[in-house]
Amino acid sequence: AQSVTQPDIHITVSEGASLELRCNYSYGATPYLFWYVQSPGQGLQLLLKYFSGDTLVQGIKGFEAEFKRSQSSFNLRKPSVHWSDAAEYFCAVGPPSGTYKYIFGTGTRLKVLA
């Protein structure tokens, strides 16, 4: 079955600390991979995406993610977290056909301590 697993429901980090949010997926073929963020009162905003090529992708707000085919993972990282990064983060996979029939993970809620 196709699925996305985000094992951490809540993560708390101190401002300035590094961050890694985990995402593992199960999919028939290599899917398109995405990370979205939802800040309070806002819609889902695309942070970054992977379609093909370089497995380390850079996104907005200083985020990056690495695709590891052997581990079926697409973990999100940021070297130094800012208080404004407090939000909920969603990993998603989509078919390589390019439609946006995503499968989402359950989300990871990030809390940032001052």
Binding site: Q42, G43, F90, T99, Y100, K101, Y102, F104, G107
Partner: protein, 111 residues
């Protein structure tokens, strides 16, 4: 450029009532998607429009849900009659070529 807009932002209705959610996609976007997030669970695909046609409605939970897209512009999602398990956040997204843009969602609470 205006983003994807959803109305209302919140709705509280009683079980058995009808509710209609609206989504205004980004102008010119042919693709429109509806998703739903039930409390604490993952965001799940409901359906996909290409212009005014339903391309894929495999995620619609049952026949109490009816989606339309008038003239290939805005879309509505009607729930009739609403049940308690319909509570959640309903997201709309649109795309043309490239990424999908999501609205802020409509939080529906059925009491």
């Amino acid at each position: 450029e205006a983003g994807v807009t959803q109305f209302p932002s919140h709705s509280v209705i009683e079980k058995g009532q009808t509710v209609t959610l609206r989504c205004d996609p980004i102008s010119g976007h042919d693709n429109l998607y509806w998703y739903r997030r039930v409390m604490g669970k993952e965001i799940k695909f409901l359906l996909h429009f290409v212009k005014e046609s339903k391309q894929d409605e495999s995620g619609m939970p049952n026949n109490r849900f009816l989606a339309e897209r008038t003239g290939g512009t805005y879309s509505t999602l009607k729930v009739q009659p609403a049940e308690l398990e319909d509570s959640g956040v309903y997201f709309c997204a649109s795309s043309q070529v490239g990424e999908a843009f999501f609205g802020q969602g409509t939080r529906l609470t059925v009491v």
